[in-house]
């Protein structure tokens, strides 16, 4: 297990050559939001109130899933080796986002 973790960490460090940034998705406490999707990653908002995802540099879109469909609701820039925080809340059934950083 320890060897595996070290190998994965090394892999993570090697793969840092491609231009990536980081997206932190936070669900504002007290809000219940539908499942979220960023690129290929699904965000389990029920498991944790904060998720950090590695994302390619450029414009990214955060979507929510409803009735098997993906609905984009937030667009933001991901910059190289920087972190952008997306605070997700909701108005009625519709999720809303606030981009920080």
């Amino acid at each position: 297990m320890r060897v595996g973790l070290a190998a994965a960490l090394a892999l993570g460090l090697v793969s840092c050559n491609e231009e990536v940034g980081y997206v932190e998705i936070k669900v504002v406490p007290g809000y219940v939001v539908p499942p979220l999707v960023l690129g290929a990653a699904r965000v389990d908002t029920t498991r944790s109130t904060s998720t950090v995802l590695r994302e390619k540099v450029g414009t990214a879109r955060l979507e929510y899933e409803r009735d098997g469909r993906r609905v984009p609701f937030c667009e933001f820039d991901v910059r190289k080796n920087r972190i952008v925080t997306i605070a997700v809340s909701a108005i009625g059934r519709e999720p809303r986002c606030k981009v920080q950083g």
Binding site: M1, G4, L5, A8, L9, L11, G12, L13, S15, C16, V20, G21, Y22, E24, A40, A41, V43, S48, S50, T51, V52, L53, R54, N81, R82, I83, T85, G101
Partner: protein, 229 residues
């Protein structure tokens, strides 16, 4: 050429100028009278081998002086480059970017979609699946099954704890990266102070070496100057 790069070069020239001038003038200085008037005992003045010694000594001193000044010039050149580098604000920006890249790569490894997190989730899924399958497995005796179940349940708990630690690491790295980018200008100023200290050290070392070379030159000039002039 920028003002910044001109300044150290001018400093180098102002230091190197007198040094080179002194070196150029050295062959013109008449060493002979100095040696002729150096107080000597009667036995020394008559010995042939002893008569060569002051010339050898002069030659050795001259070689040492040339060597010292050549080294000093090299040192001045390298110091100029070091100071140029340490006073360049682009260099401190680059250092912050490197630091951000290091923190970023660590955060990338522990991110929710990073390699370590995937590995942890995979290990946890496997442990949970084993517990589930063992509960339904009829191949083993009750004692054997209980033992295996206890082992896999413990493994599941430990893996859950390990992945929770990963969550902590993720939060910490995210915080560090955010701090770095929100305090970008301040961190840059701190980096420049650090570089300023490095430049100061270089200047101090150089001043000390120039002082030593100057003493050496002074001693040499004293040695070749006839007494009473």
């Amino acid at each position: 050429m920028s003002r910044q790069s001109l300044r150290p070069s001018r400093a180098r020239l102002s230091i190197a100028g007198p040094v080179l001038l002194a070196l150029l003038l050295l062959p013109a200085a008449p060493p002979r009278p100095a040696f002729a008037q150096t107080p000597q005992s009667p036995s020394q003045s008559t010995s042939k081998s002893d008569a060569v010694t002051p010339v050898e000594q002069f030659s050795r001193q001259l070689d040492e002086l040339k060597k010292t000044f050549t080294e000093l010039n090299k040192r001045i050149d390298s110091s100029v480059k070091t100071i140029d580098r340490t006073t360049d604000p682009v260099a401190s920006r680059k250092e912050i970017e490197e630091l951000r890249a290091i923190v970023g790569s660590l955060l990338g490894a522990v991110a929710d979609n990073g390699e370590v997190a995937k590995l942890g989730a995979k290990a946890l899924d496997h442990a949970r699946a084993k517990v589930k399958s063992l509960r339904e497995d009829t191949r083993y005796t009750q004692e054997q099954r209980d033992f295996l179940l206890r082992q896999w349940e413990k493994l599941t708990r430990d893996t859950e704890a390990a992945t929770a630690e990963l969550d902590d690491a993720r939060t910490r790295f995210a915080k560090v990266l955010r701090t770095l980018q929100t305090n970008d200008d301040y961190v840059s100023e701190l980096m420049e102070i650090r570089q300023g200290n490095e430049a100061l050290k270089v200047v101090r070392d150089l001043a000390k070496q120039i002082h030593e070379a100057s003493d050496m030159l002074n001693n040499f000039i004293n040695a070749i100057t006839p007494p009473g002039t």
